[in-house]
Symmetry: D3
Subunit: 217 residues, 6 copies
């Protein structure tokens, strides 16, 4: 059994962080979880143009890996190429936004999302509305910082805490990371706010494992 | 690491079937998954009185197992005692209805639910509405059969296919089992209808594994 | 004709206040309205465990009084045991939350709810969402005070006004009391804010009288 | 104490039926309930033009009766003039549609409405959506018959049963009468279908009694 | 081809401003656009009574102009008489509120509305909810000023900017004018806020032109 | 002034039909309306892969035409590339799905959509939900026919009437064409069903003209 978690940007540090974040889901004899970057794509998916530009290479990868993969996870909070990828494989394909929000519902009455900036916030909102997953969402709060700097910026930590606090004040009982690049801050945010911090890569891979299990036996 | 999947009825055949159904999620070195029945509870949770009557023994079990358990899953589609159980442990507690519906979103545009009968259908509907998870649901179709007979009845198979077909005609791209007792029909329904059949016990346990991972590292 | 208003906690001062609050609905020759406490239940329904723990004694009372009662009203804003109670009697059973919110719609464009604390606020929200009654609700504001102290606390009055003002600023044209124990503050809040204050016990009993009338003639 | 139930059409038989229907709410010493027709208005409110044409005489009556009335009920399912009437009196004004639908929520999981024809069906739908009261509504079924003939037509009975059955098949647990003129069929429909039949005049007057009580003491 | 834009108040300066505002839609050989005032109606539509009082003269005008008009636009944000007017003509009738909000959706993720005061704000909210057009609305902000003074008041400009800014802070990407009398501030608001300002008269007339085109060929 | 209506497929007959359909909006001295095909794109946009594959050429065209264009309309019911296109120009960009559905609201109480097949139906549904435009939609009915054959197929006419009738039976008062290629059937469907048939290219171009007007003066 193998899950393939695809980072649609070409930033290998990003992919390595993603790979580390899902390691608690690995076990000997359990489903294998591989993380890969796309090649030739932007270092951070910032704009809608970025989002749309990676769909083709993503689909080509999915098609090529389909035979030796049991489920795919698209590791970008825009769930880029989700419906196209489903056309090129018969295996389940999940997006981390949909899986992350769906998981957050199970952690409390309402959740909130930390977004990267105002533009992604609007895109996230549109996506979440399309998923029918806004009803228990208290809102989206941006940290206003380029995706590629989140993991290394001096101020990211502070901005994430501040965004998380605003969401908590609005009633959030779980905080969803609105970008795969926020993964290094999971423990920090969880401990500072006293709330579960949902790294959507973890949630999506776990859900994918469950979906693969549904197709067995 | 240990997940405890609790069957709130006292039917041990039921628990054994549940235990088998989640076995694809087990692996050496991975999260341990235990299934238990409650004692002294009904053989099938049919009525709201049944639902409410098992909350106290359920909570007592959760409290007692809390120290040696990383997450709890309540294996009844009514998600009986979900909020009470969360008060007696600091560990995550999931209900199979909420987790199953949330997972189904990731399998297609819309899903449908096979319910046991008209009374549970109304209770399911109320629950799903409270979860904010009706927007992509095509409906609930009952098989009109007592919970305790589902696994062994001669006509259950045919009734499940018929309910599943009605949901597919309404546009469902995934079928959620609205009772933990339907688990034996997963492969059959999936193959007959050509749609994913969501055994919510599997989905909830996989999600619980992911949620436990969120709290690590 | 007889309506039975049941206070699910065992606090007799509470029941007496409830009894006084519904007295404007009494008249010679009109429907008789009796208020009773449950026995052996908590002095205040604070937690979900409390809510769930009173369902069994509540249902036993409903069953026992069914023959000589025309409608039941559950006097706890959690509408505890509503669906179980409906299984043990053929008579109408109302919850004060559902009836109170439904009444508030008729008093203006939007309403708000004064909750007891953050935990009940989340439970109220879940209940109201399940009822499909959130669309014209501006929000829930907590007074952060134990149920059993509301009627007698020195600061309750001030906290209720403050919560009510926040709701009014958000656009509420009616304020719903999110706890049967707030009944002594109805005139005060109405006069201070210049808005209708909905004591949901009154609203639910009046609605029950109307529902009994539907079944006559 | 006095409630004034206003029939906005000028059909006195209609008003007399309405008057009889609310009689179970009358009692010596209780709130007085008066029913009046408007003068010079249509015999049945069929069209939107009819609806709008009665607002002015309705408001003039409300203004004139305001001092000696504690609450007004507008006895037309279009809730004609509701917001205008609220501007000419400080007393509560209720519409039978809003109060009837709000009451129906308390009678089961979902309700349905018997409408007069396709045009009123669309108007009802718009009204109910504006009220935020569609979430638990299974639909509206028309009897396709002029308002003024409903009470006396030979086929009305049969058409009402047929519309009610369709609503019941869709899951309705209560049937709301979408016209004040359907009041004579309450017992018949309730008994034939085995479901509560909501005469919205009764529900609205009962709710008005409760609202008057809120303003006392 | 002719569109008739009807100002339901009797303020001719108002009508003249409306007429100027739609002039960018005029062209030789294109659809003719005429603006008229009603006679004998209030100088500003402020209250629900005002709204309801103009329906009859509005309908009489529509009926009379029907033969020589291809579509009607009601130039009042309350969409007064929309459904009555549709009964007296077979030609399309649009309201500027519905058309303006529907257009605003096409300008960004979410929009906000500048209302005249708290009473109209509640009426707008009810209308927009009835239209099913609230889901992407960040809110309504009042300028608290009589309709008849908006065009000429010294403080209107500043109040409109302030209301617009509050909406922008809430995430609005387009600002809808909640009163036909705000038309003189379109360029100013657009330039000050850097957001599209939707004069709903323009939007509705353009939409009416498109609807007339649908019926051709 | 110039509106550019872009057909994202490379089928020139398709573009010519689109061009003819918007001709009622043309007039001397009025806004110029040009229609163009993309080059090298599929003959019909059938799949999500098709939808995503045309975004890049679409954006390049928009960027290149931006200086001499006042608004863009994307002539594909999937609104392909809408948000990417908005990033490469400061001019308004509209999608025919969003504009068509928004227009349909103004034509009656509820509308329905004729889709091409089950896959596009699901994509349409997701899009409409994301737009917040499902509340007054009775449903989507497919004609099950490839996009490229719609205009010329012998059976398309009959299938469109049949889909339209099903929508009318569900309560639709306007029928929206869910594909730019259905434009030849506008008059036929309107006359056969007696309902407005919304060619979304016309509606979107008219709305674009209005939006251009908002930015003038």
């Amino acid at each position: 059994m193998r899950i393939l978690l695809i980072n649609p940007n070409s930033n290998r540090d990003f992919t390595a962080a993603m790979d580390r974040s899902v390691s608690p889901l690995r076990a000997p004899g359990a489903c294998r979880i591989d993380c890969v970057s796309l090649e030739g794509t932007p270092l951070g998916i910032e704009t809608q143009r970025d989002i749309d530009s990676v769909i083709d290479p993503l689909c080509r990868l999915v098609e090529q890996e389909s035979d030796r993969t049991d489920a795919f996870v698209i590791g970008c909070f825009a769930d880029t190429g989700l419906y196209s990828a489903r056309e090129v494989t018969t295996k389940p394909v999940l997006g981390i936004c949909e899986a992350g929000l769906a998981t957050a519902l199970n952690l409390g009455e309402r959740f909130g999302v930390v977004s990267t900036d105002a533009a992604t916030l609007n895109a996230d909102l549109r996506l979440a509305r399309g998923y029918g997953l806004l009803e228990r969402c208290v809102g989206f709060e941006p940290i206003n910082m380029p995706v590629a700097e989140i993991a290394t910026s001096d101020t990211a930590r502070e901005r994430m805490v501040s965004a998380g606090r605003r969401l908590k004040e609005k009633g959030a009982e779980a905080i969803v990371f609105g970008c795969a690049g926020m993964t290094p801050y999971r423990a920090m945010l969880r401990e500072t706010l006293g709330l579960p911090a949902v790294d959507p890569c973890i949630s999506a891979v776990a859900m994918a494992i469950g979906i693969v299990a549904l197709a067995q036996g």
